[in-house]
Symmetry: D2
Subunit: 341 residues, 4 copies
């Protein structure tokens, strides 16, 4: 969905470099040719097909960006550049099971250079007037669902923090107030996502779309609550997870001083290896490669707030206040000062 | 529902004063006689019938408190003592329309002294083992619904704050970030309440009960978010609403200096009377009589957290962490030290 | 300090009603005559002298508002209208000791109608160019000190909440995490106020002025942290304090049902009278007449944020980032689009 | 200061593995021999001397851990194992100037194996009764100062976020509310640290110690506010910084597709290289290697809260509440139930 965008103050047709936004560069009888870059696209490495959507709503000047289509990942002319995230160096040189996650995170740039897409794989081809709706439908459902996504991550954090307390040789009970608080936050984005779906409406096409005010409010929570859950996981887990003092696996198993390190990492009844692994997981979840995504993934919280603004009936709420107090006089925005004043 | 409770550390049967908890004091062939006090019961003044539920789960020692029944409000032996809240003195001596709300808030104590309830109005009569379920069913639904209740109040606060900006002679636009934030918070308790209902389950009886983890998490939010919404309403509304400097209606209309006060209260394009009314409403909503209820109404947030604790599968979440890192060793709570150590 | 202000979009000289801002209406040989209204002035009722300062910085068009002087409270032409706050009705009809506080809160409007002030009591008389400095000096010191003011109130709330737990028949210990958190917040506004003073500078006059960035940042905290302290006091204190269900003293001592109420209010080892008093205090501190003041008293948090903005060296901080990364290119605000685009 | 600690439930003398806490293993006439591990020690790599302090207060059973001394970094028998943090792999393979920071972060384990320390470098040698004071003095001053430390980091984040808005092609102005909020938070930990110093006391030795209640309250803030500042920096900076989609420098300069990536990274008036660098800095500060430290560095917030609890005069505050309401009755913790009940 997300294009590289170029200069954010300019429309696609005004961009000095057209490659910053994926667009139709040629219409043929049997299909279209597209060119340009999509950014921060996750999961491409493990996908068979890539579904392209317009990155935002476009006006008639930018018809060539009004594009929805599906291409196979291995299509001619597409270069996928995987990003370089925190801890990926460590991923590569650590034996399986001591680094997180075995299966990897993929997040990348998609560079389309004159890629041909046959007509049967094209769903939007220049109909700019529908781009706003496409983005609106997609983002409402996405932002309802991302609530559950971060809840799942948060549940792992609750589990990791509980385990950290124990591998540190302590009980999880003195941390129960924090763990309950984490659980409340996890359940909030989940429950509100479900609420957005339950309040949604079915479309004549048969599709079902989440309620926009609720879904976009949820995106605002998704951009704040998981950060607090991470912070609380660090709070419970102790310095080993948060001060960046975890040794490498290579040192941990070093023939000279590895055994000493292992003895030092043993704290409770679990083995030092288990403590090493849980600490690495918790660090990864709260500092390293496992952090990204909930702020701008699926769009920015500021974008969501614009929808909240648009969907909140402020004037109706002013009427509530007026009705309670029996005020008939209209309470309006101030009259603009005349020009020249 | 809520009993006066007496000494919170003692069970009903241990209370020095049995009157602190409503209980069955006599079983007759045609009905029961009840005695004791219910506290913080709202709406009684405008009700025809009062439905009594047990205040908490009871064991077999406290069967006489396992009581659900319905009594008319005007029944012999019942004394209703309305509470004395903030600003109720002002309510009484201010002309209608200048004080909030015209219809009043009722919150009171119900003192039952040997009240007879005929059998056909009794639904639980000593069956202590069901009291936990009754309380659980009630509180899950209540705490799903209270989300929407505080949202409605919050919508009025959004309206009042928008109106205050205008009657202060300003536009609401510079306060939009705060207003949007208030709207997100209002929608959160609403959306999550809907989510709790959507995740609920139907009971063989035909009743439908909200999901407990979501509903009780919502109660925790209900005890925090509305406070922030109130604070933001004060922030937007200015000192007139928050520093306790609103004059009385008697001074506002005083024949000597009332006109001066009215001139001073005029700020924007609206009349000083409209500003007086909106300021009084916003003060009432955020400082005075309109504040109470969202913290302990429907039970305390600490009680809700106990349910969250009980319903969060901590051990399952520990398993998630173990599975990701391939840990087979059991990560348990530490073995208790032996006695004598 | 605070004037009634009138239309906030207009300068004093543009106000339709000049009375909304106190100003010099006549300069005589032996003094000046002033007229206009000051709003939300606390403590007047118990003061001998009133020190007037300009409400904001004025330009040369508004020289007549550049006024600092001292007048006795009982001066001819001054009308003080005390405000009508929450619970003041209750204050008047409750015996001493059962309502808070015995000594009362005073907050009022000062209406100056052609008040003569002799020259020896006038310190600023039309010198508009100094008004900005006067306001700046005053507000920096005020906002350093208000930190300690709300801490004192917060300490009472910690005490009241601790006492409430006990009069409810419970120990304060299970609430310790909340009480510690309240203490941290109280100490924050106090410690930061001290920090603002310690970072301050002495003026050639011999006066000493607090550091502006720190003092105004403290004002932002003062407009948020005490609200959380109040909320936590309610959380600990239970429904009796927060749901508006406290009976009046008249009912509490009623000859018919007062004894029953007293029995119901007895919860722990303390008398029901003690519980009544502590509950009334805590309600008053967190809902009623004891709430106002920390948001806009001493000026608004939005005003403080403007000073924070002005005193934060954003461009210097951009240089830090550039230096770390070895960037020579200037990172500027975008060039404005040309007219007509 | 921090020892590896071993089993946190056991005292040093009870540890199954004595190496987990640095201790005196032999006293000779000319000095002592020490053994054991210190963990999460930063800056060792660039230090000439290492000052060891006891990790906590010890009783007389643990005299051998009551140890303060100074050793050169290169002393015989000391092995320093640097930790493996997020993004350190990237540090090594990226040309200077494209990764942060050039100078590196050092955080490591110190393994002391029978290290001899001559008497003139030993300051505490078995005097267990002073260990509590040593830790108390150190931590009060440390936790006053760490306020300024995180402020400096926060100032860089304000600068980086301001720069990110601009290199994204936007103005920093629409983000001003967030930037001001970040500045207030930065100034809070700084101003409160200064306050803790200003409220401190001089010791007969000539040393000066910060006020404990203020300093430890500051540690609690240091464990929360910087997380919010980081989150806000991500919020302003956009997906490029937060979703983990930054390409490696190797891809950025790749001969085949590097130029396309560079064109895609160009957004505003600055070069794509500048955007690459500022984005990498901001990512590093908020997700990667630049994150660790403010939660448990200098001790845990839970440890600080214990000091806050100890230093808050709860009973005095209860007296304030009693005095206001004229209550003579003592409000005590409930009498414990008798055994067997």
């Amino acid at each position: 969905m997300t294009d590289a965008k170029g200069n954010r103050k300019l429309k696609p047709s005004q961009q000095p470099d057209p490659f910053t936004i994926v667009r139709i560069v040629e219409k043929r009888e049997d299909g279209i040719v597209i060119s340009g870059a999509k950014a921060m696209i996750c999961g491409t490495a493990s996908s068979n097909e890539i579904f392209l959507l317009p990155g935002t709503a476009y006006g008639s000047d930018d018809e060539d960006c009004a594009l929805a289509c599906v291409v196979p990942r291995d299509i001619e002319g597409l270069t996928v550049v995987e990003a370089r995230g925190p801890s990926d160096g460590r991923d590569l040189d650590t034996p399986s099971g001591y680094e997180v996650p075995e299966t990897g995170v993929t997040q990348g740039w998609l560079l389309f250079e004159d890629v041909f897409v046959p007509n049967e794989r094209v769903f939007l081809c220049g109909e700019a007037k529908y781009t706003g709706k496409v983005v609106g439908y997609f983002s409402a459902n996405y932002r309802a669902c991302i609530g559950a996504c971060v809840t799942g991550q948060g549940d792992v954090m609750v589990g990791a923090a509980t385990a950290m307390a124990r591998v540190n040789g302590l009980s999880a009970k003195p941390f129960m107030a924090k763990l309950i608080d984490m659980s409340v936050k996890n359940q909030t984005t989940f429950g509100m996502g479900v609420g957005a779906c339950a309040l949604g409406k079915s479309h004549p096409s048969g599709s079902y779309f989440a309620d926009e005010l609720t879904a976009h409010s949820n995106k605002v929570l998704v951009a704040t609550l998981p950060y607090e859950v991470k912070r609380q996981a660090q709070d419970i887990s102790g310095g080993i997870v948060e001060t960046g003092c975890m040794p490498s696996h290579k040192d941990f198993t070093n023939s000279e001083y590895g055994e000493l390190l292992q003895r030092c990492l043993k704290a409770g009844e679990c083995s030092s290896e288990t403590r090493f692994k849980i600490a690495r997981l918790t660090e990864w979840l709260t500092i390293g490669g496992g952090v990204p995504g909930c702020m701008h993934g699926g769009g920015s919280p500021d974008g969501a707030k614009l929808v909240v603004r648009f969907k909140t009936p402020f004037e109706e709420y002013v009427q509530y206040a007026q009705k309670i107090m029996g005020i008939d006089e209209k309470i309006s925005e101030p009259t603009p000062a005349e020009k020249g004043n």
